[in-house]
């Protein structure tokens, strides 16, 4: 066949781009030559807005960044502010934060699983994944009233104490999730079509992944053991025993396996946190108008999508001078072209799904 380069436009309105992402593809018959993502269709000017709000008012807006994992964004920002202001968080609050953040990680991975499977064609998994996720969202709703943009982690601690009646409900949910995962894995793990579309697709070696700045499960699937919860434990993560799953080949199938295993490890962490929940305050006393003397700090956490970082600079007033968010999906998306080159263009959807991006976080 003669070489013929065709330009294809994917998005910004597309069912499989996980939001308003535009991809300009150049393909040779069916093989992808170049991928150029065009961003900015969800740029809401968050960083500029944060400079005009107080430190406390910024927290609910961080929910809207990675909207599949709001509590993780809250945690990343409040940890940076507490670091900067020198606020000590009580041990009980730290454990409750771990419970909330890990439940949020499970909910985020279940949503990712549903979307990725739906994109590749396994539509039932979308419904299975979302049904499993609804149990966790019920817990959040009972805890503080919101399902999606939860705003449950505040500066100084958490918004409410963990009710004694809520703990057995969380344990029931933790017992139910592995059963649902077994169902899903029975459908997908050894499925010939699933493996045909994911094994060997979207390969990236460990060296390239590190070079592109990839973080999170996508990096760990290439065999690189970086996890902020182990490297610089924050919020008492050092008290819990858990493994960090690693992949071998760095293809879509490995990224799928790594995230499923992360859900199981996350269940372990929540169980340990509930077992060892100390007594005490659920929040330290933070003044209503929090004024922080001049300084700057950069703090990172392990969000479900990768390493989420917040740089906060204070100038002595009650509003931050600058808040910059290091977005894991933004950096992960840069490696999309590398992963897609040489693959068929119908694999672009699977590879994009395996990267687990959220446009709210990319576009800020």
């Amino acid at each position: 066949m003669a070489f013929k380069e065709i330009d294809l436009n994917m998005g910004p309105q597309h069912p499989s781009t996980h939001g308003v992402l535009r991809l300009k593809l150049a393909v040779d018959n069916e093989v992808v030559l170049r991928v150029e993502p065009v961003l900015g269709y969800l740029h809401r000017g968050m960083e500029k807005l944060w400079e005009n709000l107080t430190y406390t008012q910024v927290v609910p807006l961080t929910d809207r960044l990675d909207y599949l994992a709001s509590l993780s964004n809250n945690l990343g920002y409040v940890l940076a502010v507490e670091n900067l202001a020198g606020i000590e968080v009580p041990k009980r609050a730290q454990y409750i934060r771990v419970v909330l953040a890990e439940l949020q990680r499970q909910a985020s991975h279940l949503a990712w699983l549903g979307f990725m499977a739906n994109d590749i064609g396994a539509m039932s998994i979308l419904l299975y994944g979302f049904e499993a996720r609804e149990d966790i969202l019920d817990i959040f709703e009972e805890y503080c009233g919101a399902r999606l943009t939860v705003h449950g982690i505040r500066i100084g601690g958490v918004v409410h104490d963990l009710d004694a009646a809520l703990v057995p409900r969380i344990r029931t949910v933790l017992k139910a999730i592995p059963k649902r995962l077994r169902d899903i894995r029975a459908l997908l793990d050894e499925n010939r079509i699933w493996k045909g579309r994911t094994v060997g697709v979207g390969l990236i070696t460990a060296g390239d992944a590190v070079g592109y700045g990839l973080t999170g499960p996508a990096l760990r699937a290439s065999g690189v053991a970086w996890d902020m919860r182990k490297d610089i434990p924050y919020s008492s993560y050092g008290d819990f025993a858990f493994d960090v799953p690693l992949g071998e080949n760095g293809d879509v199938y490995d990224r799928y396996l790594v995230r499923l295993e992360e859900i199981c490890q996350s269940i372990r962490i929540v169980g340990q946190a509930l077992d060892g929940l100390p007594s005490g305050e659920f929040s330290s006393k933070v003044p209503r108008t929090l004024k922080i003397p001049p300084g700057e700090v950069f703090h990172t956490i392990e969000a479900p999508k990768g390493v989420l970082g917040f740089y906060v600079k204070s100038n002595g007033t009650d509003k931050p001078e600058r808040v910059k968010m290091k977005s894991p999906s933004f950096i992960n998306l840069q490696s999309l072209e590398h992963m897609c080159k040489g693959n068929l263009f119908s694999d672009v959807v699977g590879i994009l799904g395996s990267l687990d991006i959220v446009l709210g976080e990319i576009d800020k």
Binding site: E47, K48, G213, W226, I232, G309, Y311, E321
Partner: protein, 165 residues
């Protein structure tokens, strides 16, 4: 959270290695809050980045942050501070480099050293107007190509200038 605020010996070693090689290039070097913050002249940036990556093993450029010093710029200080957040994994040892760039000046691009600088520098250009020499394709990333102005500058109004669509 004692782990993140305590002094760490790896940071002192890094600080000493930098001071040993680039004694006159460093304007200041401070270890606080678990991070090493180094200020240097923008002409020395490329050499320091190469040194940190190739010899000290800082394999990740996590973020490029730009600060608009409009309030302080009147006193003769350049308008922008560009911060480079570097990290060495495993172990998560962090270094933050700070260079100062004037409004119509350019700074050397970090792309030849760290590929993850690609979009971070485009974002800095889009939001502040800082130019990076040696970047393979410096253009806007969030705002439409025909947008005028740089939104995150302190003198750009929050609600925008032209009322939007």
């Amino acid at each position: 959270m004692p782990g993140t605020t305590a002094d760490r010996p790896e940071l002192r070693r890094t600080s000493e290695a930098l001071a040993g090689r680039f004694a006159d290039a460093l304007l200041s070097s401070v270890v606080e809050k678990g991070e090493l913050a180094v200020r240097l002249r923008k002409d020395d940036l490329a050499a320091v980045l190469h040194f940190l990556k190739d010899e000290l093993g800082f394999n990740a450029l996590e973020d490029i942050i730009v600060l608009d010093n409009l309030c302080a710029a009147g006193e003769g200080r350049p308008r922008f501070s560009v911060l480079y957040q570097l990290c060495r994994f495993p172990g998560a040892v962090r270094v933050r480099l700070a260079v100062e760039v004037g409004e119509n000046d350019a700074v050397a691009s970090a792309f030849p050293v760290y590929r993850s600088a690609d979009w971070a520098e485009r974002e800095a250009f889009d939001m502040f107007g800082v130019r990076f020499e040696g970047h393979p394709g410096l253009r806007r990333i969030y705002m439409p190509d025909d947008f005028e102005g740089h939104p995150l500058r302190k003198d750009f109004p929050l609600a925008g200038r032209d009322g939007g669509v």
